[in-house]
Symmetry: C2
Subunit: 552 residues, 2 copies
């Protein structure tokens, strides 16, 4: 009698993808490897696992149950890493609070997410004092401090983190449950309106970790992240789980270094002292570190840094490479967990001059395994992959937020046509590299031509006098829009160059590069500062609204 | 109003894990990279994708629907690779037929699996002639041939593979469906009773591919498989999907080389001509290749070979290393998709002498990410990880067969206590390496002491006169069992050494190594051949039953 096979293989023995499983390999292979906080706290993976158990027991002790939300306000620390695991492993949800938002916005996100418990560093007591009376759902608060003694607090806490852990059992039994259970939530730092909540499940975080491991591991020449690397984040843990890399570093069993805030002196010291070899950050942070006096003598050779969040200026790629840093870009956003692409160079590319390598390193990359990434016109038809034809980047992958929390209108726009719409404009070249050229809303429409503000910035930034630049479109009766470059000069160039001279240089270079036929319409204004978002991205909405307010 | 978050994030936008997604990255990044069959057929990933579409259209044309089974009888080829993708991508099930089984066993597996369509290479027409009248479920047959013209066939076919593809459309629309849909099935080559069917879903094959990519990619020193590698299987594609590596090679976009049968001359030629750098095989195959005259002058340097299926003799690891081959072991079985562990060396290990490295390379490795691997006593309590205490290896991971097809009794034993029981005996050392020492049924029980037959073989195989050796337990009134070594001498040592001399050498070495206190009980017999299974493993059941029949 032949057996007609059933189609679904799901069974009682199916293995849900759960965050706790990321701990299996490091505990089985490198239990003695180190994790350090600023070089001050230092312990092993074995201790990490024990403290994860203690944290879960402590949270259960103050009433945290599966499905409830534990919000965290801290800088990058071993405690944050413990929460990355313990909270979701209990079946609860970790809310990573963007501590760079305004107190009112922080209040909004805590109430909107319905946070039950708040774990907060004493450094944020002033914010806590402002918002505590208006927290509608938080019923327990846990304090953390880096001070020798707990500072005076504005509200009552149910305990401090270290005391609670010391009193709790390490033997928490982490259960199996549905891999689609929500694990984390946080709020995007969009430049318009209230922050919007995104969220990810255990399954999504495990698959993002595996996808990143496959991409980094497959690198043949540069950007190969392997088990002997030493990891240090330089994108905050509150921001898309530091791009998911603490999960990756843990699964791979890397030595891990948590720096707290990104103070250049400390970063330089940790990189050399702890032999950090893999980090990630936005260009602004790297710029801040590389231009710091302490960085001038530090040995950065072999430091792999993935750049994301904003376009990497080619000039920065070259100067970092000259310091021995292996710099390359990735692409993603809060809604995408975040990594979608990485710009790994091929072996042959490494034989090219630095300037040519920089062009590739500054591209936003090629898709990770399983990522279905397209660039489409307004009818959702794919554009030609010739490196010129541009359109919106849309994507499917196993690790995309399924909606904005409690925002059906925005969610429907996000997922129009069954693909997640990034609102980024880009093109794909024949080698498969995505180049993100602009945000949909930042594109400059001049005389019927669309010009990427990022491409204009890249050209202007190459001038030796320019420290930073933001290009925005301003209304123009004749041309619709024309580009305005807001330029922050390097200190030693102030007074040495005129707006007119820089403008003529840039206008010529823009037309010569074929980026726009209308380079001549460029205006250049020197500014005393550029406006950025809470995570260091250019806030073009604000700059566009009142550029005059910034000018010298 | 706070939002109380729902727990499950599954939505209409959830992304099922499907085999078709493994094609996304190579097509987006290396569409022109090559796939070759024996160096005779050569085409690009773009063509692979087109032919996958054509194959699906052709199969649909002969009535194949989702849930039906397409069985394949072929050696390792581009056609097999096409079927690895096209059949499951349609929602149908690919049965990979072990062509080394007896015709009666092949008939049994086709009928037991309920195969609807059979795709068969003309080389197997003699088998087909024997079984065709008794095929109870196959309703269509497709022929393949490597000959210039199709040989005379014993039955009617609905067409030949290349003609059907040429006439079919490449534009098959591969649908999304449940990731738990069954994708493949095949039958284990167990040495007792009828073959047992195992099966894997899309989800499991995708996760196995990601897990392997993470493990290979994380290697810091040796065994790093990356995007510039050239892949060639040396474990048959019918056997656990060539250990899943054609899926891995495709997802990573590697150049791929399919050799048909494993003829040493052809293998040597392909390795040098196509610059093969990553393969995998059982020790027997490597032994066959390395001892072939053509291999003596071939350049094998940089060839990474993962060894599995049987224990790797340390002597073989050393001799391969001397040829520049990067040899290391993995562990798994048909029931586990198969890879569970890989023995990657650490950077520091590579500075040790070859003999010390060989000890690590011959261990069966450390668990892949997400793999929950334990060694337990009969009460399912973990043994100490001291490299000595042994027990049965049990495992959970995202890629284990959920049952034996239509065999509830065996399935229940397989999954006793919620873990898959491998029936292998092993130990784990403090560095986390699993050492598989024996099959549960091959362990030798002497005077109350358990001795691993594999460890005895490893010691005896180090003698210069020994070509191959199998140790089995034979009944003994006084000791319960005593070990019998069946030894195949190297041709030039036949008549140069006596059983008695080798036995004295081995008995002494066994006691000196501390493997057994009862080395003196060893018996040695020279044989004219050793009995192996269809995939080249020692068939100890048969040898134990009648060792005298083998002896010289």
């Amino acid at each position: 009698m032949p057996v007609r096979l059933v189609q679904s293989t799901a069974s009682a023995y199916s293995y849900p993808l759960l965050i706790k499983q990321l701990l299996l390999t490091p505990l089985a292979t490198v239990p003695e490897r180190e994790i350090t906080y600023q070089g001050k706290v230092r312990y092993t993976y074995r201790t990490l696992r024990e403290r994860i158990g203690r944290l879960a027991s402590a949270l259960a002790g103050i009433g945290v149950q599966a499905g409830q939300t534990v919000a965290m306000m801290d800088w990058d620390s071993h405690r944050y890493l413990e929460a990355f695991f313990a909270v979701p492993m209990m079946g609860a949800i970790l809310q990573t609070v963007n501590v760079r938002l305004s107190p009112e916005q922080i209040l909004y996100t805590l109430n909107h997410a319905g946070a039950d418990v708040l774990v907060v560093n004493s450094e944020f007591f002033p914010i806590l004092a402002q918002i505590a009376p208006r927290l509608t759902t938080v019923r327990s608060i846990v304090f953390i401090t880096d001070e020798p003694c707990m500072p005076a607090a504005p509200v009552e806490a149910c305990g401090d983190y270290e005391t609670l852990l010391a009193q709790a059992s390490p033997d928490y039994e982490f259960p199996d449950f549905d891999e689609n259970a929500q694990a984390t939530t946080f709020y995007t730092t969009g430049t318009t309106g209230d922050p919007k909540g995104v969220y990810f499940s255990h399954r999504q975080l495990v698959l993002h970790t595996l996808g990143c491991a496959a991409a980094f591991g497959g690198a043949s020449a540069q950007g190969h992240v392997h088990r002997e690397d030493v990891y240090m984040p330089m994108t905050p843990m509150f921001h898309v789980h530091a791009w998911g890399f603490p999960y990756l570093a843990t699964m791979m069993g890397l030595k891990q270094v948590y720096p707290g805030r990104y103070q250049p002196e400390l970063i330089c010291r940790l990189v050399t002292q702890e032999k950090v070899s893999f980090s990630h950050c936005v260009p602004t942070i790297l710029h801040m570190i590389l231009t710091h006096p302490q960085a001038q003598t530090a040995d950065f050779s072999g430091w792999k840094i993935l750049i994301g969040g904003s376009a990497l200026p080619e000039a920065m790629a070259i100067s970092a490479q000259k310091r021995g840093i292996d710099l390359f870009t990735g692409y993603g956003m809060s809604e995408t967990c975040p990594v979608l692409t990485i710009a790994h160079l091929e072996q042959a590319d490494l034989e090219r001059p630095l300037a040519e390598q920089a062009v590739i390193r500054a591209k936003t990359g090629r898709p990770l395994p399983l990522v279905d990434l397209r660039v489409v016109d307004k009818h959702m038809q794919d554009v030609v992959h010739d490196g010129r034809a541009s359109g919106e980047v849309i994507v499917r992958s196993p690790w995309l937020t399924q909606a904005y929390l409690a925002d059906p209108v925005a969610s429907e726009q996000l997922w129009a046509g069954g693909y997640l719409h990034t609102a980024d404009i880009g093109n794909i070249n024949p080698a498969g590299y995505l180049k993100v050229t602009d945000r949909v809303k930042d594109i400059i429409k001049t005389g019927g031509e669309w010009t990427s503000s990022l491409e204009l910035e890249d050209i202007i930034a190459k001038h030796e006098a320019v420290h930073e630049v933001a290009v925005v479109g301003i209304p123009d009766d004749k041309w619709g829009e024309r580009p305005l470059a807001l330029v922050l000069l390097k200190p030693d160039h102030v007074g040495q160059i005129s707006e007119h001279v820089l403008r003529n240089y840039a206008a010529h270079a823009i037309e010569a590069a074929g980026v726009s036929r209308y380079g001549v319409l460029l205006q250049v204004r020197f500014v005393k500062t550029l406006v950025k978002t809470s995570v260091g991205k250019m806030n073009k909405r604000l700059m566009r609204a009142d550029p005059a307010a910034l000018c010298l």
